[in-house]
């Protein structure tokens, strides 16, 4: 009985260490992407994580699997960070809440997003994840602006959704921050003001 418990504790400890190593490797991969959107090599990732290349390939059969695991990890984290707030607030509150959440997501996840988009041609699984993210973005826009979007025809609703999605795209955020040199708050103001103009009037309930 004691022997079995000890064995099980050893196995659990090993599994935990292995899981931790896996996590460090994913984090090293994402840290390297923040420095350069080009996919890092196995030896760069291993060096950054503080493990051997062999350790890396013991956890991930290839670099594509690592990038998919990183994408899944990022989506889970981004979803936790971007909890829906103020969905029942007034128009101005909802616009501000949606813009601030979206801006923070773009600020945090732009490097990984760029890497995913850059590599989507090599993997159907990456393409599926990109599509899923876009669908989640659309669903959130629809949810946050339901009072306004429900008040117009289906064609008009779709047009407005597409326009808001284009406006609040990752690369739109990047251009405001990198090319136009706007501060986080000024870039949010651009989006807030534009969304307010794009949305139809809020119906009086």
């Amino acid at each position: 009985m004691v022997v079995e418990t000890t064995k099980s504790a050893v196995v659990d400890g090993r599994r935990l260490r292995s899981e931790r190593t896996r996590q460090y490797i994913i984090e090293a991969y994402m840290a390297l992407l923040r420095q350069n959107p080009r996919p890092p090599t196995a030896s760069q990732i291993a060096e950054r994580a503080g493990y051997s290349v062999r350790s890396l390939f013991e956890r991930f059969p290839d670099l594509l699997s690592l990038s998919l695991a990183a994408a899944d990890h990022a989506f889970a984290q981004a979803n936790t960070q971007a909890a829906i707030r103020n969905a029942n607030g007034d128009r101005a509150t909802r616009i501000r809440a949606q813009v601030e959440t979206r801006a923070q997501t773009c600020e945090d996840w732009l490097p990984l997003w760029r890497a995913l988009v850059l590599n989507q041609q090599v993997s159907e699984e990456l393409r599926i994840r990109i599509r899923r993210v876009r669908e989640a973005i659309m669903a959130r826009i629809l949810l946050m602006y339901r009072p306004e979007l429900d008040s117009v025809s289906q064609v008009e609703r779709r047009r407005t959704l597409i326009a808001i999605e284009a406006l609040t795209d990752f690369e739109s955020w990047a251009r405001m921050r990198e090319a136009a040199g706007l501060s986080f708050d000024d870039a949010c103001t651009v989006w807030i003001r534009a969304i307010d103009r794009l949305l139809p009037p809020t119906p009086v309930s």
Binding site: E165, A166, D169, R197
Partner: protein, 223 residues
Amino acid sequence: MLRLGEGDRSPAAADAGLNVAMSTTATVVDGRRLRSERTRQLIIEAYLSLLRDSTQVPTSAQIAERAGYSVRSVFERFPDLMSLRIAATDHAFAQGTASAQLRDLDGDRETRIRSQVETRARTCETWLPMWRALTANQGDSDELKSRVRLARELILRRLELMYQPELSTLAEPMRRYTLIALEALTDFESWGRMRENYGLTIGEASEVWIRTIDRLLPATSAA
């Protein structure tokens, strides 16, 4: 072309002979230059057509095969693939600018919006693959980066010109913020998503832009 008689050896005839020889050499050189220029052009077009098939940077062997030349011929015209990419970008910009002449600058609001959207839509439809390759690979070269920057500046300048009657009613920074929003809305990838992800026709996608630009713009100044 002049032909000289066998017995004609006067200084004038000798001059004439020299002129003919020079003219023949010049014709041969011109012909060679023309052929070389044509080969260069065909290589650029092969590169662009491969980009339309895939955003992955094509290899020199793929480019040579598509153009119908040897890999050696490619590297006789371009020292490396980066030079070819830069030349193709310049060719695309020249073509894109030529086909996107400013029209209806003095039209009413609706005419200007429609005209700008039609031109921009055509540019996006034609040059999206090239743009994707350019933005994906711009990290490789400062020259590519500067071309991306230049293209964006031209897009902003055009928006400023087309919507001057509306934008002039706004004080800074609101004028700049509106321009930034217009540029984001009419970006290449915004067009790409409408066409590829949402399956809109050119007409439907243009209509999205027309409606939303109209909403983003402030009222047109009376003047």
